[in-house]
């Protein structure tokens, strides 16, 4: 972690997801992300944390979800990690979001797709015995930031 990175450790209690979203939102405000992109990034990070709670910790609320928020001139980078059950690699594979036909309309399975959709680079690192980690990177460009010139 660099000196200006922010580290957060939050219990795997879904009631605290709103707190995480609030922190991410305020942190993104520092970089002047346009509201649409800010909303998408908050959503994608929320999805990563929800996956840790639902899938890695199977709904246990007393485990730890860790976040590292980092920004450089070129990138905004957020890492979410847990110490729960490693998710099978096929769960984190990139699958494009497409409009489903009516018979294909099923609830669920959207979270990882949204993460891939929102960020420019996504790297999932499931542990061999325990834990998961996902690093999500957004390239900083003028069109994403308020007050920047194209």
């Amino acid at each position: 972690m660099r000196s200006d990175d922010i580290g957060l450790q939050v219990s795997s209690d879904p009631r605290l997801l709103g707190v995480i979203r609030g922190v991410i939102q305020v942190w993104l405000d520092v970089f002047g992300l346009v509201p649409d992109r800010r909303h998408e990034v908050v959503l994608a990070v929320d999805e990563a944390c929800s996956n840790a709670i639902r899938h890695a910790y199977k709904g246990r609320t007393d485990e730890a979800v860790e976040l590292v928020l980092s920004a450089t001139e070129k990138w905004i980078e957020i890492t979410v990690s847990d110490q729960g059950t490693p998710c099978p690699s096929e769960c984190s594979e990139y699958r494009p979001l497409v409009k489903p036909a009516e018979h294909e309309l099923v609830p669920g399975g959207l979270g990882v797709k949204l993460i891939h959709e929102v960020f420019d680079e996504v790297r999932f690192c499931p542990g061999t015995t325990n834990g998961n980690c996902v690093t999500m990177r957004l390239r900083r460009t003028a069109k994403h930031e308020v007050g920047s010139e194209d």
């Binding site: 929800s50 639902r54 609830p107 797709k113 949204l114």
Partner: protein, 102 residues
């Protein structure tokens, strides 16, 4: 999140305010899946007061829509907030639902 269910002659309206996320969506799912089979003609989900919705909220709406089709009922999103529409658009599901203003 707050949920208020009201009935008109034809329609059951479920009005939601606040955030729909992993914590709150199970309560919404229960309300929706309970209301759909009992509705006279259909269900309207009023989303004008929703400040945030994640994929578990989207999944709940998809489940409600499927249940409505199975039960021969209508399922309409009423006055969805910008935040709700953005998630549905991102998920490529915005045109799957019937939407009407308040």
């Amino acid at each position: 999140m707050r949920i208020e269910t009201t009935k008109t002659a034809d329609e059951t309206i479920i009005a939601i305010e606040g955030d729909i996320d992993l914590y709150s969506s199970p309560e919404l799912r229960t309300a929706v899946l309970k209301a759909v089979p009992k509705a006279t003609a259909g269900v309207g989900i009023h989303l004008g007061g929703v400040s945030y919705m994640d994929s578990s909220g989207v999944a709940t709406l998809v489940e409600g829509l499927r249940s409505a089709k199975e039960n021969g009922k209508t399922f309409v999103l009423v006055a969805p907030s910008i935040s709700v529409m953005k998630v549905l658009e991102l998920a490529r599901l915005d045109s799957i639902f019937e939407v009407r203003p308040a």
